[in-house]
């Protein structure tokens, strides 16, 4: 049996809100790899504790308190990821799962010291913004999924989703990394795949992959 904490639910709801629109128990269950019934259970508890707004069969929303807490956890997660990657030089695809454990086992004081030691980084190794002590995100240009671009669009890789480590391994193997400029050479309508040119290389990316790579458009 997996044993997921309230903290995980809050982070998951926060993140899903950005990706999906309305949040339903099913999506949370899928995301955390547990049964929908367990989600219903926990939503009741989170609701009585004032972290989420929840009415049976209706959508789910974080309260202000819940949002604060979620951002707090995400801050911990991203600072740990940065530490593991930048300082300990752990491989890109391993830092997410490792940070997922550490985020539940570190005090605020520790994380603040960590942030100081890392010199107040603004983005984690996957390109996600790191909230500061007050929960504010650093300013950054809007990102969109690579899968949304059309032929001849140009942009810079800004973020690669960490939801599956295989994706990160694959992206690295294809020579993709944050900050690289590229041009969309082609987009195949029938399967949604995208062919981009980075430096002199042409790389073909499936729709699934492209929708997990986020970029900043060249204006």
């Amino acid at each position: 049996m997996k044993n997921i904490s309230k903290e995980d639910y809050l982070s998951a709801i926060y993140k899903l809100r950005d990706e999906a629109g309305e949040i339903k128990p099913n999506i949370i269950a899928e995301n955390l790899e547990i049964s929908p019934a367990a989600v219903t259970d926990m939503l009741k508890k989170l609701s009585t504790d004032g972290f989420v707004q929840y009415k049976k069969y209706k959508g789910i929303k974080l309260t202000a308190k819940g949002e604060r807490y979620a951002v707090h956890m995400i801050r911990k997660h991203r600072l740990w990821e940065t530490f593991l990657f930048e300082v300990l030089k752990m491989p890109w695809e391993k830092i997410h799962s490792e940070a997922e454990k550490l985020e539940h086992s570190s005090s605020d004081e520790l994380v603040d010291k960590l942030e100081e030691y890392l010199n107040y980084p603004k983005f984690d190794p996957h390109g996600y913004p790191i909230p500061d002590k007050n929960g504010s995100l650093p300013k950054h240009k809007p990102v969109i999924a690579l899968s949304e671009l059309r032929k001849n669009d140009k942009g810079t890789i800004a973020r690669i989703s960490d939801f599956k480590s295989e994706l990160l391994v694959y992206a690295a193997k294809q020579g993709l990394s944050l900050g690289q400029k590229f041009t969309v050479k082609d987009k195949l309508d029938f399967d949604g795949s995208v062919i981009i040119k980075i430096n002199t290389n042409e790389v073909s990316l499936s729709k699934k992959i492209a929708s997990n790579i986020f970029i900043v458009m060249e204006e």
Copy 2:
């Protein structure tokens, strides 16, 4: 309800073996701040899993497997303490409880990288030896409790027990730290307290305190 893992039991048994001689359920219960009944419960599980040798009403021993595991956990603990103190500059008295959480949330790979980053430290900030990857402890001179010394004995402070953070705060306040040389000026028989001279200062330490400070004798 506290929720202590098997890992905690193994570390506790390992550490208690050094301090107390024979290990009884009661001592473990006290150490982990849980009921003796819970200890009996867990001992059965650890026994069937092959981590401890356990017969009802008899003493408890780690098996080779249990010992390996315990050393492994202690390695993690002490490396994390070193990191928190040396790198993040967290206060001495806070690193123990923080490391106690982190040790359960970090993979072997992470801890090995941490060790490398710290440049293979041999002792943690409290003076405890750090086991290497293979579980071997660094060579070090034998230490004895300060409470065992007699008048005019000389020595060097080598270790200060981390079992209570108050002790660490107190020791620091009295100006005690690892590596300091001292002379026993007096020992009061009726309460076991010890007066030592460090540099030009004379400090009086209760028996309780003195029995938690370990030193290397001057030959």
